[in-house]
Symmetry: C2
Subunit: 207 residues, 2 copies
Amino acid sequence: MSLPERTVERLSEYRRSLLQCLEEGKTHIFSHELAELHHNTAVQVRRDIMFIGYTSMQRKGYDVRELIDVIGDILDSEKGLNVAVVGIGNLGRAVTTYFVGKRSKLNIIATFDVETTKIDRVISGVKCYPLSRLKEVVASHQISIAIVTVPADSAAEVSSQLVEAGIKGVLNFTTVPLDVTKDVYLDEYDMITSLEKVAYFVKTSRS
Amino acid sequence: MSLPERTVERLSEYRRSLLQCLEEGKTHIFSHELAELHHNTAVQVRRDIMFIGYTSMQRKGYDVRELIDVIGDILDSEKGLNVAVVGIGNLGRAVTTYFVGKRSKLNIIATFDVETTKIDRVISGVKCYPLSRLKEVVASHQISIAIVTVPADSAAEVSSQLVEAGIKGVLNFTTVPLDVTKDVYLDEYDMITSLEKVAYFVKTSRS
DNA sequence: AAAATATTGTTAATTTAATCACAGTTTCAG
DNA sequence: CTGAAACTGTGATTAAATTAACAATATTTT
């Protein structure tokens, strides 16, 4: 019933490029063009698009606007989802600024921190609440997704508070793997892993 | 000859946890313990470790320190690699701060930006150079990896300058896919894709 | 010291993902 | 109006990654 993770990722990536195309006034795009942009193959693109049941006008490529809409039907929730950023250090601030306004169906509507100096501060139009009010604010604002950017040593604690508060999806930018109940979707990203991967392939390509 | 990407990623993740174990004074760890930490299976862990040719003392679990060393032999370059962060906006600053000192074999030794107000500023001990001096500084400091955190509209240009300067690995945090020659290893990470993936699975788990 | 238990290492089976190969369309050139 | 060219959509195939299954080994229990 639900698409493979890799396909979901690629669809999101395609949309990003398609939105770019739209801005540039490009109305149609071929599978091999999308493929080249995303370092994969035309067949892969066509297969992904087949997956979501869209079919182009033959020989003219895909209609950019239509494809954006179809991907939207798959990826987006109709009413949008509300998102909170937990932990307003350097990374938390950067992430908040970065996300605000990027996608109309994903609204960053609160940030949280423990430090009293940060409470009530507004970052890119988003207000910072004390972590102690997490459950209450999550409920009143119907927040379903949390981006976690707290320091490593408070990550586990924060994670269980999020579950407790009824969060349904977590994006973890912390250096420690989190542990959530299995009704909560968890995605973990660690920059160090990415960088070490790059380093590994740089290393092996030379020897 | 070179390991699958996913395996490299997991090894990096395991090491992260192993370092944590070391700090906590834990000297041995079972495959199922590592598996649980990383949301995968004991078989998977054993297979990954088999891949790198390490074998534990039977029945006592893996020796934490030894395993860290073996993973290091695989992932790290003997003399370490030098890394630059290009683009010192919010994200660039956060990333720089985040990385400095995290891994002894990956040294962040320069940052670059175009804005004159940022030149010569020092972030977490790392100096900011004008982008115009890229090639020169990359050569003189033997920088082989670049982390790209510039705005979307200058990404393509920066990317070709990096290739030109002789960079061998790129980690792209920009919202546009880059295009590099194929002797350069490229890893792209877009937070929006991660967040959209979380949103998608939150959405589908409810319906 | 035999039996039961816990754990690794690895071969084989299975599942999942990616690629090939090609038929079916549309367009274009002559 | 015919044939070549340019694409897409998809069944078949191949390759890659994961999981299952179990023998081998060390430890503990009785």
